[in-house]
């Protein structure tokens, strides 16, 4: 097992370098310019000077190597310094990856500023989705073709066929504009200090969480349902029943346990998505999460931010793939890595 993990980690390193290079190259080759949003009266000469100051005129390989050094060496050193309080080397002059639109603002700080909102909204939606979807799927499967199952199926189909940019706008029109229950602008400076602010926080999270959870419940519950149905037909279930075990024991101890193995990996693989935020939903509800940061940066051609966020996503995806694989081995004794 240890050897397996080591091998996976070692293969992940060149993969990451490759991904980071591909992302950088694609972004460098793609058209777009951070000076495009400046007032129309600004002459081109001045735009050219701004590009120069941002270091955009250097050749691509030079920019890549510099970014790589900042990402792999400077930023981790800074993080370490911040965490331990120990000064490492010449920290004042260590170049950080900075945003082009918010000039001088370190990209990592932008991400840290936005992570809590994403974790709250997207993470909560995910937790709610899992908590609802798994029992829903299991029960649907157990009562296959019953009225309950039919209704759950219809809702699930609606859930993943309606895109969030549609349900989001619908929910805003109905609950915020028509009924006035929830705010349409997410207040990111709200601090929960007492009951009143807590309620306010719940109110502003209600719509985005609902929209996201609705979508995810659909996916996960369908997956859990088919997995349970498959297991219910297995011979070992018949054996368990023949042994005279109670129905409860058969379902919880045998069927659910076995059928949740693929569900767990599915859920684990979805976790990097939480950190990635929900691009569309965050944008619609003005939640300043990572997803919104990414889309704004793409729109304003803030390449250092886009590059860094995407590479961090890649790292998370690789890490959680590894975790999912390891979990699989732990949960399913039939699978052994050597």
């Amino acid at each position: 097992m240890g050897q397996y993990i080591l091998r996976r980690v070692l293969t992940a390193i060149p993969t990451l370098f490759f991904i980071s290079f591909v992302i950088f190259a694609l972004l460098a080759l793609s058209p777009g310019d951070p000076t495009a949003n400046l007032p129309p009266s600004l002459p081109m000469e001045i735009k050219l000077r701004v590009r120069e100051a941002l270091g955009m005129n250097q050749p691509m390989p030079v920019r890549y190597v510099r970014w790589l050094q900042q990402f792999m060496v400077n930023e981790p050193l800074n993080a370490l310094e911040k965490a331990t309080g120990i000064r490492i080397g010449d920290s004042e002059n260590r170049l950080r990856i900075t945003s082009w639109t918010a000039r001088g603002k370190p990209v990592i700080d932008l991400i840290i500023e936005r992570l809590p909102q994403t974790l709250w909204v997207v993470g909560l939606a995910y937790v709610i989705a899992v908590l609802i979807a798994v029992p829903l799927g299991v029960f649907s499967a157990y009562k296959q073709n019953s009225l309950f199952d039919q209704i759950a199926s219809v809702i699930a189909v609606i859930g993943f066929s309606l895109p969030t940019f549609f349900t989001g706008v619908l929910v805003i029109q109905f609950f915020a504009v028509r009924l006035g229950w929830f705010p349409t602008l997410y207040n990111t400076t709200l601090r929960v200090t007492d009951w009143g602010t807590f309620i306010e926080q719940l109110r502003q999270m209600a719509m985005p969480v609902f929209v996201l959870a609705f979508f995810q419940i659909a996916t996960i519950s369908r997956f859990a349902r088919s997995s349970v149905i498959e297991n219910l037909r297995m011979d070992y279930v018949r054996t368990a029943r023949a042994k005279g075990l109670t129905e409860k024991a058969v379902v919880t101890r045998h069927v659910v346990r076995n059928s949740l193995i693929p569900v767990v990996t599915l859920v684990a693989l979805g976790i990097p998505g939480i950190f990635g935020g929900a691009i569309v939903t965050e944008q619609i509800f003005a939640v300043n999460g990572i997803g919104q940061l990414l889309i704004l940066s793409i729109q304003s051609n803030d390449l250092p931010v886009v590059q860094t966020v995407l590479v961090i996503f890649s790292v998370l995806v690789i890490v959680f793939n590894l975790i999912a694989d390891i979990l699989y081995g732990i949960l399913d004794p039939r699978i052994r890595y050597s």
């Binding site: 058209p31 777009g32 310019d33 951070p34 000076t35 495009a36 949003n37 400046l38 129309p40 009266s41 600004l42 002459p43 081109m44 000469e45 001045i46 735009k47 050219l48 000077r49 701004v50 120069e52 100051a53 941002l54 950080r96 900075t98 945003s99 639109t101 918010a102 000039r103 001088g104 603002k105 936005r114 609802i132 029992p135 829903l136 157990y142 915020a176 504009v177 009924l179 006035g180 229950w181 705010p183 349409t184 602008l185 990111t188 400076t189 009143g196 602010t197 306010e200 719940l202 209600a206 409860k248 379902v251 919880t252 619609i284 509800f285 940061l293 704004l296 729109q299 304003s300 051609n301």
Partner: protein, 601 residues
């Protein structure tokens, strides 16, 4: 079959939990009343009879382009100038009637009061005594000098052009500062005037000049200013929270204790937050379909306001040949070889293109409160707006057809497209940036041009590319690899000299080409000695003569159909009916007088 109780219990539990969340969410909160529950009358309850400093609570402004930085000299978009204008003050600014009023200066320097030198080579400002920065230190002439040094350093990458033509800035004493120009400057009110060039604090920024500017995150997001507000919290590309600057010069102002600038998804989400849900008090730059916007306004929560500065949506004509077969010489003008366009160099064709357009329909249906039809490239302020070209407001397809017939452009092969006498068909590639209103304008104009026998191919380019400065991209407006293109431009200062300089030829130095890294401003590649000569007079003219010359220059451009003006564009914003104070000219940010904004009583 037995029901496994566990599942039923679980199910019940989740249902209960869900219900609990929904109920909790619906319970009316004590602190913040929502839109649906807000009283119909203005929220005047609990306010003192007269507004004083910080008496009126919280003001929410919604910007669908989020503020990225609060240092205007490193702005990445118009919204950043707005965000900074609450904190930083210039020496002079423009009021709602486009008159100069002193802010940090004691008075507006003029020739009469001796502030402007006789030879027009310098302007001397006296600073208002007793002005304090928000950190409590006094404002001095050194800060003004430093502001110029900061922006003039090319390594800073400064994003304003207000210091063009400034030779030096010197402090004569603690409170006197003189701006010296490189040439006689009859209109000296560019440096340190208006929201584009406010004063920054030397003590805070002295280590942030030049290359260091890029790394001064703290300074760029929390500038110390002399304005009514200071930063309480800044979240780049999301929210800015402002608190009252305790050292603000007027002890009675500002009236709102807190100002929040929030982001929103797009212009219609901003309009909704002000006009429909009432969550915000003010929404900026609402380019929303006119019918939708007016519907929202009809709900009675807010008012739409249009500010006409001088921005004009126009179609630029390419005087050079953009034929891709020319390779390197595509759209390239040189003094030796002007590379003329096969038919757009004929004034009759350009005139016909202009005559075929119905500007009223474009303005009414696509812009609504955001625009009115215009026949001028210099449409404002009123003092310099020409009235000599208004005939263009009347569409005349018949006349255009007749003009082309007479000029010898006939459809000889019967395919519905006219040809030049040499047999070149009148096919036009018409490019602009990707934007719903622009694509609709393109479609309308394509129809009209078809009716005069001109075939138009439409193209749109992502704004980030079209307006970008990337010399390697073939799709920037400056490269102009098309026959005509459309976008908005206008002077950002009521004096049009800087703007009219765009059409100078300067022996080709002002025409975009590889020699200047495609950086010239004469995008049409129209080279006229006559225009350059008339512009030379403007450089030294003052008063009425100056306005007359500006109008003459505009007329020369328009009557030569160098560009075809379409719509005089306004910045459209909406404010809540509970808010009193917004009052703008189009040459300042909407927040220029935010210290006087207050709740309706």
């Amino acid at each position: 079959m037995k029901h496994p109780r566990l599942w039923r219990m679980n199910h019940l539990f989740f249902l209960l939990a869900l219900l609990a969340i929904i109920f909790a969410a619906c319970a009316p909160p004590a602190a913040a009343p929502t839109a649906g529950e807000q009283p119909a009358a203005p929220a005047a309850a609990g306010l003192p009879p007269e507004p004083g400093r910080g008496t009126d609570g919280e003001l929410v402004l919604v910007y669908w382009q989020e503020v990225s930085i609060l240092n205007p000299y490193l702005a990445s978009g118009t919204k950043d100038f707005h965000g900074a204008s609450l904190i930083l003050d210039p020496l002079l600014e423009f009021n709602e009637n486009v008159e100069l009023v002193p802010v940090l200066a004691e008075e507006v320097p003029t020739l009469e009061n001796g502030g402007v030198s006789e030879d027009l080579m310098s302007i001397t400002y006296k600073l208002r005594p007793g002005i304090l920065w928000s950190d409590g230190t006094p404002l001095t002439a050194e800060d003004v000098v430093f502001t110029w040094e900061y922006c003039a350093d090319p390594a800073t990458g400064c994003t304003v052009q207000n210091f063009v033509g400034v030779a030096s800035v010197e402090a004569l004493d603690e409170l006197t500062v003189r701006v010296n120009f490189t040439d006689p400057t009859p209109y000296p009110y560019t440096a340190f005037v208006g929201y584009l060039s406010p004063i920054i604090q030397k003590a805070q920024f002295q280590n942030c000049k030049g290359e260091a500017a890029q790394a001064c995150s703290e300074q760029n997001t929390n500038p110390i200013g002399t304005g009514p507000y200071k930063v309480a919290e800044f979240r780049a590309n999301d929210t800015v929270v402002y608190a009252v600057n305790e050292n603000y010069r007027n002890p009675n102002q500002p009236h709102f204790a807190r100002v929040i600038i929030k982001g929103a998804e797009d212009a219609s989400a901003s309009a909704r937050a002000v006009l429909e849900t009432g969550e915000a008090d003010y929404g900026w730059n609402l380019q929303v379909e006119p019918a939708v916007l007016l519907d929202m306004e009809a709900k009675g929560k807010g008012t739409i306001m249009s500010a006409f500065g001088a921005n004009v949506e126009r179609i630029l004509i390419n005087f050079t040949n953009p034929d891709p077969n020319l390779g390197e010489k595509r759209s390239l003008w040189t003094p030796e070889d002007p590379n003329p366009h096969p038919f757009l160099t004929d004034i009759n064709v350009r005139k016909a293109l202009s005559m075929a357009i119905d500007r009223n329909i474009i303005a009414e249906q696509l812009y609504g409160p955001g625009g009115k039809p215009t026949c001028n490239l210099l449409a404002g302020p009123p003092a310099v707006a020409s009235t000599n070209n208004d005939a263009c407001l009347q569409q005349d397809i018949e006349g255009a057809n007749k003009l082309l017939d007479e000029a010898g452009y006939l459809d000889s092969n019967g395919d519905g497209i006219r040809e030049t006498p040499d047999g070149v068909p009148l096919r036009i590639l018409y490019q602009t940036s990707t934007n719903a209103v622009r694509q609709k304008t393109q479609a309308l104009i394509q129809q009209w041009w078809k009716q005069i026998g001109v075939e138009t191919e439409l193209k749109n380019v992502e704004a980030a590319v079209f307006f970008g400065g990337d010399p390697a991209s073939p799709d920037t407006y400056n490269k102009f690899y098309a026959d005509v293109e459309m976008f908005t431009n206008g002077p950002d200062n009521p004096d049009p000299q800087q703007y009219l300089a765009n059409w100078l030829c300067d022996g080709g130095a002002n025409i975009p080409s590889p020699a200047n890294n495609w950086g010239g401003s004469n995008v049409e590649r129209w080279c006229s000695e006559e225009y350059d000569a008339l512009f030379a007079q403007l450089r030294t003219a003052t008063g009425e003569e100056r306005n007359r010359l500006a109008i003459a220059l505009n007329d020369m451009l328009v009557q030569n159909y160098v560009a075809i003006p379409l719509v005089f564009r306004a910045s459209v914003s909406a404010y809540s009916n509970t808010l009193s104070g917004p009052n703008i000219s189009g040459f300042e940010t909407e927040e220029w007088n935010i210290e006087t904004w207050h709740r309706v009583r």
